[in-house]
Amino acid sequence: MRNLMTIPLATMLAAPAVAQSRAITYTEFDLDNGLHVILHEDHSTPIVAVSVMYHVGSKNETKDRRGFAHFFEHLLFEGSENIGRGEFSKHVEKAGGVLNANTTGDRTYYYEVLPSNQLELGLWLESERMLHAKVDQKGVDTQREVVKEERRQRYENQPYGSILIEVLKRAYTVHPYQWPTIGFMEDLNAASETDYVNFYKQFYVPNNAVLVVAGDIDPTTCKALVGRYFGDIPRGKEVVQPTAIEPPLKGVIRDVIHDRIQLPAVVTAYRIPANGTKEFYAVDLVNRLLSNGNSSRLNVALKEEQQKAVYVGAFSLPFEHPGLAIHFAIANAGVDVVELERAMDSELGRIQKLGVPEAELAKLKAQLETEYIADNSRVAGVANNLATAYTMLGGTEQVNTELDKYLAVTVEELRQAAVDHFSTNDRVVLHYLPLSQKQP
């Protein structure tokens, strides 16, 4: 059942952690135009990761252009003043490299991993993208269709694929997190040339981005090259981030979703503090306690002992503004969703009432420590973590202090987080049922 986890949730797992003993070294500086630059030197393999994180995601969209940030990510592979349609990826692949990008509610991330002698190529490509990207009508039309297929493939033609969309629209009422990053096709159809130009002007400016170069580099040379390729890109207007404050969830929002599934599922969602806050780490530990590893609470209780579920998962959506914890269980054949929901609640209740033994918390911390090492074992991962720490967590050094924040959480704080943020009286509850159970 490994494939049961849907992509949208899987890609939103909690941010990586960090160990003090294995600090990631880096240098950082700002260019005059406001571009923040982070360099990480590691000569173990002759490769280099070049990446740019723009502080723009679907929460920066207007309500009639939902999905625009992600659509825009697709468009920014189309070319530039000096790069024709389709040439962007060709330059990278001809150099023996790989490239990709991804978008979340909060940021958009582009990267290339290249042989280290092609560092300058990576800088040229990313600076072209930042300076004067260019898209023709064929590109716009094609990518709009591609994004529609992406939506169908990931969300519409997958069992339980709509979970994130259904949860977000109930968990938020005023904040733009209420719509998914993939957006809605009618909005993309409605987008016009003015929208593209304005979005680019507003968000794709050096003062709204961080450039990370990680790998087999000489920082001094690299710094000079960065200046040459990015120094002349004009600073843009100050980017204003959305200020909508979502009022607390009061009460239970309960719904039934009929989907093309065989096994019913229970989804619960709780509003949690923003990523990077002290409370976030305690909340994330509650989720890890519930479903990280075979000996985690939900796995043992629901899958092994009671055999009520074939799959359980508890995730934190590590959003920049207050996010969500989502708990998800797929019922074993013949198990009723009400019974499954009760079993999930009972595990939560145990934590709230009895707390967690020191040994169990130590286990979670041991897992985090290993994860941190594995997560920083490749330069592409390090680049991503550095960019994320700078953009989302309040500073690059968070890459080295995040693990400590997890390790500092006490058993009492964990229990308190379970009480404060996982109230069964204030949450979204969705029952996913097979279409055949729909009343005509």
Binding site: M1, S44, T45, P46, I47, E81, N82, G86, S89, K90, E93, K94, G96, G97, V98, L99, L114, N117, L119, E120, L123, E128, L131, K134, D136, Q137, K138, D141, T142, R144, E145, E149, R152, Q153, E156, N157, P159, E193, Y200, D232, P234, R260, Q262, L263, N292, G293, N299, V300, K303, E304, V310, N332, A333, K363, K365, Q367, I373, S377, R378, P440
Partner: protein, 744 residues
Amino acid sequence: MNRGTPSDRSTRIGVLLAVGLLAPVLMNAQIDRSAPPKPGPAPAVDLGEHHTFTLKNGFRVIVVENHKLPMVNVQVRFDIPPIVQGEKAGYIDFLGDLLASGTATRTKAQMDEQVDQLGATLAATNDGLYASSLKKNLPALMTLVQDVVTGPTFQETEFEKVRTRTRSAIQQRKEEPDAIAEVVGRAVTYGRVHPYGEVMTERTLESISTKHIKAYYDLFFRPEKGYLVFVGDITEKEAKDLAQEHFGGWRPDRPVTSMNDDGSESMEGLGKVRIMPKLATPGGVRRVFVVDRPGSPQSVVRVGFPLNLQPRDIRALSAQVLNTILGGGVFNARLMQNLREDKGWTYGAYSTMESDRFNGHFQASVSVRTAVTDSAVAEIIKELERLRNEPVSDEELDLAKRYMAGSFARGLEDPRTVARFALNTYLNELAPDHYATYLERLEGITTVDVQAAAQAFLHPDQAIILVVGDLASFDVELAALSRDRSNPIMQLDENGAPWEEDITPVTDRKAEDIIEGYLKAIGGRNLVGQVKDMHRVMTVQRGDKELKVSEWFGPDGHYRSETTLGDQRTELLVHDGLRAGRTDAQGQVELTDVDLQDLQFNAVPVRESDLVGRLDRMVLAGRTEVEGKDAYKVILMTQHGTTVADYFDVATGLKVKRVEQKFMNGSNQRITTTYGDHRSVGGVQFPYRIGQTGGTLGRVQFTVTELDVNKGVLPALFTTGLPPIVEPTEFETDPDGYNGIEGQ
């Protein structure tokens, strides 16, 4: 075929995104932005090194030292040939779930707890396990690794838990298009009796017992068949000590097996173990398989065939270059550029060319919106043909080679890659310098090599096409891509077996009751019986033209239908009560035999009101579903030998679907007609929405625009225009065989 092409506007409409006039600041003389910067000197690629040694019991150990991170990865792998599992298909997959689910010294709960306490990972598979931990926890982890590999007890309770979950998983799989495509794709590529094509089903799941799993374990999990791999922050000496400590004394009893006359091996508890099945290779004609998912927004498409392609085959590397050019990971691959970047039909299109020491395969895969399903398949076939027929360009070859060289170097960032190379060298019996010479061999590959590989390993004419999607939306077009005339589309179920309708028997009523119920639902036998004549017009838009079918039903089986496309009449069909003629662009033909009898059976306003003497038999097959609604299925076997299946909605009693099998244009066709939007005319309900697939009109969804009952029809309409039959009153048989014609 190019339905769904986003836009024909290929001309650039100008700069949409260029912002500001930046020319002045770009006067920086130091950089020329107009062309990509030149690379520096290419860095050397360090393949890394490994050590190997063998324990006295035959267990081989591979060590890759890499002290960058304080972590160690451990892998145990047994060299197991694929075997046929037969009626207990799937039992091998239980091994992965059960190995770490209880040993002589630890329960599953204890094992899970200890792994997690170490912050380690430990994942068992059906041929070994993977584990990892921080270096400081490695000794403790190795104790667990040893326990899982040498001491599993295959407890019944744990087995039953896994079986329960697997039962649910098999059920759930039926709603996962990608999972269906994966399972059924292997089944149609290799065949369901091949180890790589066998499918675990609800039935085989119930035949599995711990006895099978235990026997398989005893046979194949043995030191002399095993490899122990350490990668990471460990020295050769440390690895030796750990290997010796945990596996040096492992000497399991040899299981008793016997050889059979056919060369296979039998074993107590496991039965016959056929070590090597027949090699599957491309053959036959191009065939099409479909797993139907009505209403599916996308079609999951797989085009593939089995291959005899061994990893040590000298052509294996050209085959990989070929696959990179076609669809193997690069964005500039042909499938991606064609189906995504040019057509906008998909999020991604890929291909794999899997070399395998037992039986390789090729597979192209894409998920496309339903409307372009057959077009996507046609494009994939076209790309395979193009690679066979034309050499690739130097530029494409160059990109593929440089990309592969880059991937090779990037892969070495992970020290496990070095260990994987070593393990592959042993398992696949590769030359010792296989990986050391990789880049050099890659560099030497030419466009001639690539085309030779295409001709050896791409088989568009023998391709096995699998689509998981809404069959009714593409059946006609997809059937045209099949080369199997007797069965253009083979419909399969989610387990890859021939599709059979899911029918629940009904015992409390008979077919006659359903027909009576239907007549009642549409107005009652009495009112229906009063329908003497009828005129009906139905239309549908075809491109910029209207397709129109006008029908007149007269007394005594008189019938006329005219089909027009725009102002062109494409078909005229007239039945005068005795004879019938069809006229189209090719002229007129008289309908005879079954064709005439079929027309006579069907060409009445409501056939169900008068079945007397027309049926051989009528059977209520049972209850099933039509578009998500319960329906009775009634099978009518006519006097003239044809069979049709009619479906009646359980709730409304109305007829919602008819399925007929017909032999047309040299192949068997399945014609499906659907009925909806019933409206009352003179108190009788008639369908105003009539859809059909598989007939001469292809897929159509008609709307009835006129329907008159008992308004009278002109007798002249039913003149067939057929030449009169000259019936000889007498036959004079000439003894010499002449027919009385003599002299001129």
